[in-house]
């Protein structure tokens, strides 16, 4: 039993850590796409956030200022996205891709020009990073046989963004399904004409959805560079924005399922790292880690194809709203 815990606890703890930026980014996509604006630019906004957080924290030595800068940078890109998609009614996918390319270039260029360390920011001091927070009452909980160790080992000792992400899931569910704002936002994604007819501004609500996405992506980026890592390096988000998008689709654009799919992808990642180089029993060939890493994408394609279950996107997502005359 103890041996099993030794194996399981670190994997589950890592799952939670790895899933955190995915949860934040997928919730970001949830708000944008529920309002009717496709967001393939999650990756770029996260990358901008990761750079802004690490750069600011490196200069000021304050992790919270870093988080603020990350949110600002990501929100600036979100504002651009909203302006292009809502005000100018441009192509939402093109705008998202432009943001991805722009963020990749900008962060690499500015990181090299400002810090001259080959595209990295300087390693962060302890105050420039999110530190682990001990679970209150951990020593008493740990006394409980088996379960105590599991709870403390898996849930305890994480950084602030991990707990924040876990809190944001019920909050997002409440805002989207239990408030007037949430109802109107979702209506914008399903039938914007009805929202307009009710005298509510579709444009304002879509701006709100996209800007909330900016806020959350910035937080996700800061998590990657100042909680999981201790500096920014070129292209450090490494496709997490697209994994988050996959998680959002698998979750059928709903907040609680978003948590489960992100945790599933986090688990896959945590397991894949441990299986690196481990031979498959009986075959003698190394375990195909890449197959595990590709699983989120394959699952998404299968679900989208409707072979298993059915992914139903918000009906009006991706279509610019034109007021009828």
């Amino acid at each position: 039993m103890e041996a099993a815990l030794d194996l399981i606890v670190p994997i589950l703890a890592a799952t939670l850590r790895v899933a955190t930026p995915l949860i934040l980014a997928a919730l970001a996509g949830l708000f944008a796409e529920r309002s009717g604006v496709v967001d393939v630019g999650l990756e770029g906004k996260m990358l901008a956030g990761a750079f802004a957080a690490a750069a600011t924290a490196a200069v000021t030595g304050d992790v919270w200022l870093g988080l603020g800068a990350a949110i600002l940078a990501s929100s600036a890109l979100a504002l651009l996205h909203a302006f292009a998609c809502v005000t100018l009614r441009g192509s939402q996918v093109v705008s998202g891709m432009a943001i991805n390319v722009l963020a990749a270039g900008l962060t690499a260029t500015l990181a090299l020009a400002w810090f001259r360390q080959g595209g990295q920011t300087p390693a962060l001091p302890p105050d420039g990073r999110f530190q682990p927070i001990a679970l209150p009452g951990a020593q008493w909980i740990a006394e409980v046989p088996l379960l105590g160790r599991l709870v403390v080992g898996v849930l305890g000792g994480h950084t602030a963004p991990v707990y924040l992400a876990l809190l944001l899931v019920p909050l997002a569910a409440f805002v989207l399904w239990r408030t007037r704002f949430g109802l109107r936002l979702r209506a914008c994604g399903e039938a914007p004409g009805a929202v307009d007819a009710a005298g509510v501004s579709v444009a304002k609500l879509r701006y709100a959805g996209v800007m909330i996405a900016g806020l959350l992506c910035g937080t996700a980026g800061a998590t990657i560079s100042t909680a999981q890592g201790a500096a920014f390096s070129t292209d450090m988000t490494a496709g997490r924005g697209f994994i988050a998008l996959a998680a959002l689709i698998l979750a059928n654009w709903k907040p609680w399922p978003v948590l489960w799919t992100c945790l599933l992808f986090g688990l896959l990642d945590a397991v894949a790292i441990r299986l690196q180089g481990v031979p498959v029993p009986g075959l003698g060939v190394p375990f195909p880690v890449q197959a595990v890493q590709a699983l989120p994408y394959i699952l998404t394609v299968i679900l989208l194809a409707g072979f298993v279950g059915r992914a139903v996107a918000p009906r009006a997502v991706g279509i610019p709203y034109v007021k009828e005359r």
Partner: protein
């Protein structure tokens, strides 16, 4: 609704103005990086057109961009956004490798090379066909599936190169050199030492074929109807699904040109990430070129020059990495694509007055 712009303004003036806008914002980024924009522009120009070598490299990169741009553009014509050019090109590289590794001992170069090119086109087409089929028959959005297919292709390539196709006793994840008997595809007598090769001529040929196919055949007419008015296409009895599937396969086959240019033209072996993001640049090329083969070729030359000038830029100005070129690309996608309406209305007003 503002009045539509005259044709020449829509096709030439507007893209040019958007380009100027993108360059202006890029200059601000260069300033933010603490460097001189004029010096950067100078280094970019010399680096891309300053010598025969530079021009050769520019044309080499432009070949990639032309294939990528054509692949994106032809799908755009059917109203489809193919973000999967990167993955389709990678798979096409696998096609080349399988043909060459399997047959290079038994076939003469004159037979092997065309076969390898066909193999690459087949693999690229297959990787485009599946998202096309999923879109047409299962209603899965092609944007999302092609994004996912890029990552699936990347994982597959890493797996195959690390575990299966790797040269035994080698550390680097790459295949052995192909024994084609030729050093590489012929440089067709291009002056200077550059990797420019006959794939460039294939790109010009491909552009012509795309033009004929899309603008001069009934099939192409149907394709454009599907893209501009699916309702009308259905009413006219055009098989929308078939058009989508076939055009995605053609798009993937065009993406294979990147693999031919890089693998057969230069590397002579399959390596990881040989596409170098060309597939994504294809989006910018297609947008800038207004999805027309002539426009795509011109835009490809511009982006080829940016790619080559960018590496020289990093050499001349060590504090300005070649990623600066990626910024320019992003801004061009932004201004010509997403913010396309930004200048159109004011321009229409000015022209109506004048």
């Amino acid at each position: 609704m503002t009045r539509p712009l005259p044709r020449w303004a829509e096709l030439a003036l507007l893209p040019l103005l958007n380009l100027v806008l993108a360059m202006a914002v890029s200059a601000l980024v260069v300033l933010a990086a603490g460097q001189s924009p004029t010096a950067a522009l100078h280094a970019l120009a010399i680096g891309s057109f300053g010598s025969w070598d530079a021009i050769g490299f520019t044309l080499f990169y432009a070949t990639n961009m032309a294939f990528a741009g054509l692949a994106v553009a032809i799908a755009f014509k059917a109203g489809l956004f193919n973000i999967g050019v990167e993955g389709q090109a990678a798979m096409a590289g696998l096609g080349i490798a399988l043909v060459c590794l399997g047959l290079d001992a038994s076939l003469p170069a004159l037979l092997l090379l065309p076969l390898a090119i066909l193999g690459s086109a087949a693999f690229g087409a297959a990787w485009g066909y599946v998202p096309g089929w999923l879109q047409a028959r299962r209603g899965s959005h092609v944007v999302i599936t092609t994004i996912m297919f890029n990552f699936i292709a990347a994982s597959l390539m890493v797996y195959l190169l690390v575990n299966v196709l790797i040269q035994p006793g080698q550390m680097a994840p790459e295949t052995r050199r192909f024994a084609t008997g030729l050093a590489a595809l012929s440089s067709f007598g291009f002056p200077g030492r550059s990797p420019a090769n006959v794939t460039l001529i294939l790109a010009l040929l491909a552009a012509f074929v795309v033009w004929v196919l899309v603008w001069r055949t009934p099939w192409g007419y149907g394709l454009r109807v599907v893209g501009s008015n699916p309702e009308a296409a259905r009413y006219a009895g055009i098989d929308e699904g078939r058009r989508i599937i076939v055009v995605m396969a053609i798009s993937g086959a065009l993406a294979a040109g990147i693999a031919v240019n890089e693998i057969l033209g230069v590397h002579q072996k399959l390596i990881l990430n040989f596409t170098g993001g060309a597939g994504f640049t294809g989006i910018a090329v297609a947008l800038m070129g207004r999805n027309h083969p002539v426009g795509v070729l011109l835009a490809a030359l511009l982006f080829g020059a940016l790619a080559q000038g960018g590496s020289e830029l990093a050499f001349e100005m060590p504090d300005l990495p070649r990623d600066m070129v990626v910024v320019v690309q992003g801004l061009i996608i932004l201004f010509t694509g997403a913010l396309g309406a930004l200048l159109r209305a004011p321009l229409a007003r000015v022209m109506a007055r004048g």
